[in-house]
C-alpha cells in the first residue's frame, strides 16, 4: 500500500485502541474519494476520539469539549467548499454536547459526524458514558443506572436524514458506511462502536464481533418507522448498517436567497446598499 497523502502520525492512543482502525479507514476513504487534503476539514471536540484530526494531514479544528458540532456547521455554512467531518466521542457528542447534537440534526448542514462510541469515558479514565450499558447483577462499575442513551433513535426523532451504525472491527463495513455518510447531502451521523481496551472490559472487540450483525440486504433505509424500530434494537443482537437515509433540503438549500453561489467568505457588504439602509433612518 502506498503512503497516503493523509498519512497519519504518531498518536497518543493506547496500543490496540479501536481508534486506529477508525483513522486508518477514514484515511483510506478520503483517498478513495480523491478529496485534496486542503479541502477537507476535520473537526473534533475534546477526548481521545477528538484527537483524530491531529493525526491526519488535513485542515483541523480542535475545539471545546462537546462543542465540535456548532463550530463544524458554522465552518460549513460560510465555507461550503470544505468537506467537513466531525470525529469525536460518545461523551463529547451525546453528553456534554447533547443540546448541539439535537439541534444540529435539525439544521441539516451538509457535514458528517463520526461518533467513536466506546460506551465509556476514556481520557478521564473509565467513567460512565451516556451510551454505557445498563447496570445489572453482573454488570457494575462503568454502567448506566440511568437509562442508556439511544443515539440513533434520538437522531431519527430529531429528523436526521442519515443515521448509521458501524463497528471499528469491521473495516469493510466501516469504510462503506463512512463513504456513504460523507457523500450524503446533509447531516450524516455514524455511531461507530469501538472497543476501549483500557477501561471497557465488557464491550470488547470480541463482544462487538459476536453481537453485531448487518441489516438485511432487503432492509429499506427510506422507511422511517422501520428505522425507528430497528434503532431500538440494542442488546444481545446489535444491528449495524445505514438505518435511515433520505434526501432533504440542506441548510444551504433552504436559504437560496443567501447562499446564491458566492461563498459567504467572499461576500462584501455593498456600500451603496448600506447607505440606502441608513437613509431609511433620516
Amino acid at each position: 500500500m502506498t503512503q497516503s497523502i493523509y498519512h497519519s502520525t504518531e498518536t497518543a492512543w493506547c496500543p490496540g485502541c479501536g481508534n486506529y482502525d477508525i483513522v486508518n479507514t477514514l484515511v483510506q476513504v478520503l483517498d478513495e474519494l480523491q478529496l485534496p487534503p486542503h479541502e477537507v476539514l476535520l473537526v473534533g471536540g475534546i477526548g481521545q476520539a477528538a484527537k483524530l484530526n491531529q493525526y491526519v494531514n488535513a485542515n483541523g479544528f480542535s475545539g471545546l469539549h462537546g462543542r465540535a458540532l456548532p463550530a463544524a456547521v458554522a465552518a460549513k455554512m460560510v465555507n461550503q467548499a470544505l468537506t467537513v467531518i466531525v470525529n469525536t466521542g460518545d461523551g463529547d457528542s451525546y453528553g456534554e454536547g447533547g443540546n448541539h447534537f439535537l439541534h444540529n440534526i435539525r439544521r441539516n448542514v451538509d457535514i458528517t459526524h463520526f461518533v467513536h462510541d466506546n460506551q465509556i469515558y476514556g481520557l478521564t479514565k473509565g467513567q460512565t458514558s451516556p451510551t454505557s450499558d445498563a447496570c445489572s447483577a453482573d454488570r457494575k462499575g462503568a454502567c448506566n443506572l440511568n437509562k442508556p442513551f439511544k443515539p440513533l433513535l434520538v437522531a431519527l426523532a430529531a429528523g436526521a436524514t442519515f443515521a448509521a451504525r458501524t463497528f471499528s472491527g469491521n473495516r469493510e463495513h466501516m469504510a462503506k458506511t463512512m463513504k456513504a455518510a460523507i457523500r450524503h447531502k446533509g447531516y450524516a451521523l455514524v455511531d461507530i462502536l469501538q472497543p476501549c481496551v483500557s477501561f471497557n472490559k465488557v464491550n470488547t472487540f470480541g463482544y462487538y464481533k459476536e453481537h453485531t450483525y448487518e441489516l438485511e440486504a432487503d432492509y429499506d433505509p427510506t422507511n422511517l418507522q422501520a428505522a425507528l424500530l430497528r434503532s431500538m434494537e440494542y442488546g444481545p443482537k446489535i444491528p449495524i448498517g445505514i438505518f435511515y437515509q433520505v434526501e432533504a433540503p440542506t441548510f444551504h438549500r433552504q436559504r437560496p436567497e443567501i447562499f446564491d453561489g458566492v461563498p459567504m467568505i467572499d461576500k462584501m457588504v455593498p456600500e451603496e446598499q448600506l447607505r440606502a439602509l441608513m437613509r431609511k433612518f433620516a
Binding site: 484530526n53 491531529q54 480542535s62 456547521v73 458554522a74 443567501i258 457588504v269 433612518f281
Partner: protein, 561 residues
C-alpha cells in the same frame, strides 16, 4: 424640552414615541429618547421619555416639560417630576386635579376620530400646536409609519388634537441638518455591516435581542448568515467556527448569555480566532432585571475565562460611537486575531438619538492593517512565531497550506504539544500581540476645564450625562473635567495620568454598585479614586443624579434645570 409618555404595556407607547421622535427629527431638533419597559407583554408600567433641543442632546434628564399619561399609575410615578410650568396631558376621566392639566378631552377626540386607540396621536396633534410645528410634518410621518387601513383615523386624530387647543409655547427653530434617528442597537448593527460582518449567531436574550432581530431582518438584503443558536454556548462556538473558516463573525448577548460563552472566549484566545462578542448589559447576577440597565459586567468582561490571553474591551459611549466602534472591533479582532468584547447596555441599546450620518468608509478603514509577515516560501504555519505575535492567517481550502487550530496548547503547526519550551514560546507570542494593540488604543474623551481641580472618570453610556453635568458645574464656577473611556481594557493611561496629576480629587461615575472602573484603574495604575457616584437601581444615571451625587461630596450644587 423633555416629554414623558407613561402607560401600561400594550397601550401603544412605543408606537406613539416612535412617531413623535420622527416628527421632532424632521423638524431638525436633536432628539434623545429612552425607554423604560417592564419584562412583560401586557399591563404593568412602561414609559418613554423624549428629550429634544435645538442644540445637541446626548442624555436624558429627570425634570419634565410635558407628561402624557394613560393611567393613574403613570400619574403616581411621574407627576412629581413635572416642572411647575410643565403641562399634563391625560384624559379628564382619570380625575387628576392639577393646575398643570391641559383641559383637552383626548379620549373623546380619539373616539370621534374613529378609535380610542388613537389617544397618543391626538396628543401628538396637541404638541404640534403647542410647539408651533407644522401639522403637515406630523401627517407626513403618519403616512410613512402607519398601515393604510388605520391611516385615515390617525390623520383625523392628529387634526383633532391640533384644533383642540390654542395654547402655544414656541421653541427656537433649529438649523436644518441631516441626521439619522437610530437606537443604539441599530447603530451598532449598521456599524457591524460597515465593518464587513458576514456571520452573526445568537440566542435571544433581552436586551441584546434587538441585534439578532436587526440582522435577521436584513440577512437577505446583505447576504448574511444569521443563525439563532440553541444556546449561547452554541452561539459563540458557531461564531468561532465561522471565523476559523474565514468569515467576519460576531455574536451578541447579555451578561447571562456571556457567562455561558466564557469557555468559548478562552478558545478564541488560545486558538487566536478573531471574534467580536457584544454584551448588552442588564443588571445581574443571574436573571437580575431583564429589561433594565447597568454597567456591572465591566470587570467580568475584562477577566472572564481561565488562563491568560490578550483581549480587548470597548465600552460604547453613544449612538455614533456604537456604529464606529462595532466596525472597529471587527477590524481589530481580525488584525490581532483576538476576541474583542464590545460593552453596551440596555439604556444605550434601546434609546434612540439623532446622530450625523456616520461615514461608512471611515468606519470600515479605521484600523491600519499589519504589514504581512508571511513569506511565499515554505510550509504554512498557522501559529508561526513572529515579532508582533500575530501569525499569518489563512482561510482553509483557499491554499494548499493546512490550517489547524487548537484549544490545546500547540506548536507553530497547530499540533498539540506539552513541551515546556513550546508553552512559554506560545504564551509569549500571544502576549506580544498586546504591544501592537496598546499602541493603537483610543484615549478617553475629555471634556471640561483645562486644569480641573475635580476630575470625573466614567465609561460607556454614561458619557453624555457626565459631559452635561460637567457643563452645568462649569456654569456654577466649579473647576471640573471628565474623562470618558471607550477603549477600557487594556486601559489607555496617557490622558488619565496627565489629568490625575493636576486634580485634587477624582470621582468615578458609574452605573454599578462596586465602582468597577475605579477598581480597574487602581489595578492598572495604582491610583485610587477619592470616591464614586454610583447608581444601581436599574435606571440610568441622569445628569440630575450626577449633580446630586457630587453635591453630596461638596462639589457644586444640585440644581433643577
Amino acid at each position: 424640552m423633555n416629554i414623558c409618555i407613561g402607560g401600561a404595556a400594550g397601550d401603544g407607547i412605543e408606537t406613539m414615541a416612535g412617531i413623535l421622535e420622527k416628527i421632532l427629527q424632521r423638524s431638525w431638533f436633536s432628539v434623545f429618547s429612552m425607554r423604560d419597559f417592564m419584562s412583560r407583554i401586557r399591563g404593568g408600567h412602561n414609559f418613554a421619555q423624549i428629550r429634544f433641543e435645538a442644540g445637541p442632546v446626548t442624555a436624558h434628564t429627570d425634570a419634565l416639560d410635558v407628561l402624557i399619561v394613560y393611567d393613574q399609575r403613570s400619574v403616581d410615578e411621574h407627576l412629581k417630576r413635572l416642572k411647575p410650568d410643565g403641562l399634563l396631558l391625560c384624559d379628564p376621566d382619570l380625575g387628576v386635579s392639577d393646575p398643570r392639566l391641559l383641559p383637552v378631552p383626548v379620549k373623546k377626540l380619539a373616539k370621534e376620530a374613529g378609535s380610542a386607540r388613537t389617544i397618543g396621536v391626538v396628543c401628538i396633534g396637541v404638541l404640534m400646536k403647542l410647539y408651533g410645528l407644522p401639522l403637515a410634518t406630523a401627517e407626513a410621518v403618519l403616512r410613512e409609519t402607519l398601515a393604510p387601513k388605520i391611516l385615515e383615523i390617525n390623520l383625523a386624530a392628529v387634526q383633532k388634537g391640533y384644533a383642540s387647543t390654542e395654547l402655544t409655547r414656541k421653541l427656537p427653530i433649529p438649523e436644518a441638518k441631516e441626521t439619522m434617528l437610530v437606537t443604539g442597537a441599530e447603530a451598532m448593527s449598521m456599524g457591524a455591516l460597515a465593518g464587513g460582518l458576514q456571520f452573526y449567531s445568537a440566542y435571544p436574550m433581552s436586551p441584546s435581542t434587538t441585534l439578532l432581530n436587526f440582522f435577521t431582518a436584513h440577512a437577505e438584503e446583505f447576504k448574511l448568515v444569521v443563525e439563532q443558536a440553541e444556546d449561547e454556548i452554541a452561539a459563540v462556538n458557531m461564531a468561532l467556527g465561522a471565523s476559523y473558516a474565514g468569515a467576519r463573525a460576531m455574536t451578541g448577548t447579555s451578561g447571562g448569555g456571556f457567562s455561558l460563552m466564557v469557555e468559548g472566549l478562552g478558545l478564541a484566545g488560545i486558538a487566536e480566532l478573531p471574534i467580536v462578542i457584544v454584551d448588552v448589559q442588564r443588571p445581574g447576577p443571574a436573571t437580575g432585571l431583564p429589561t433594565r440597565t447597568e454597567q456591572s459586567d465591566l470587570l467580568f468582561m475584562c477577566f472572564a475565562s481561565q488562563g491568560e490571553f490578550p483581549r480587548m474591551v470597548i465600552a460604547v459611549r453613544d449612538h455614533a460611537d456604537a456604529f464606529y466602534q462595532t466596525a472597529r472591533a471587527l477590524q481589530l479582532a481580525k488584525k490581532y486575531q483576538i476576541p474583542v468584547l464590545v460593552l453596551s447596555d440596555q439604556y444605550l441599546s434601546d434609546s434612540a438619538a439623532t446622530i450625523a450620518p456616520p461615514d461608512i468608509r471611515q468606519a470600515a478603514h479605521s484600523v491600519k492593517p499589519l504589514a504581512p509577515e508571511e513569506s511565499a516560501e515554505g510550509d504554512y504555519l498557522r501559529y508561526a512565531v513572529t515579532e508582533s505575535g500575530v501569525s499569518p492567517l489563512r482561510v482553509p481550502g483557499r491554499s494548499e497550506g493546512l490550517v489547524r487550530s487548537d484549544s490545546d496548547e500547540h506548536t507553530e503547526e497547530g499540533v498539540i504539544n506539552e513541551s515546556a519550551a513550546v508553552r512559554v514560546q506560545m504564551v509569549d507570542k500571544r502576549s506580544r500581540k498586546l504591544d501592537g494593540l496598546k499602541a493603537e488604543l483610543l484615549e478617553p474623551s475629555y471634556t471640561g476645564a483645562e486644569n480641573p481641580q475635580t476630575l470625573l472618570v466614567g465609561f460607556g453610556s454614561t458619557s453624555g450625562a457626565i459631559a452635561e453635568a460637567v457643563t452645568l458645574l462649569h456654569e456654577q464656577g466649579v473647576s471640573v473635567g471628565a474623562l470618558s473611556f471607550g477603549d477600557v481594557y487594556p486601559l489607555p493611561q496617557n490622558k488619565l495620568l496627565q489629568y490625575w496629576k493636576q486634580a485634587k480629587a477624582v470621582y468615578s461615575v458609574e452605573q454599578n454598585a462596586t465602582a468597577q472602573l475605579a477598581k480597574l484603574i487602581r489595578m492598572e495604575t495604582n491610583l485610587s479614586c477619592t470616591d464614586s457616584v454610583l447608581k444601581y437601581d436599574g435606571r440610568q444615571l441622569s445628569v440630575d443624579d450626577i449633580l446630586k451625587g457630587l453635591a453630596a461630596f461638596g462639589i457644586g450644587k444640585e440644581v433643577r434645570q
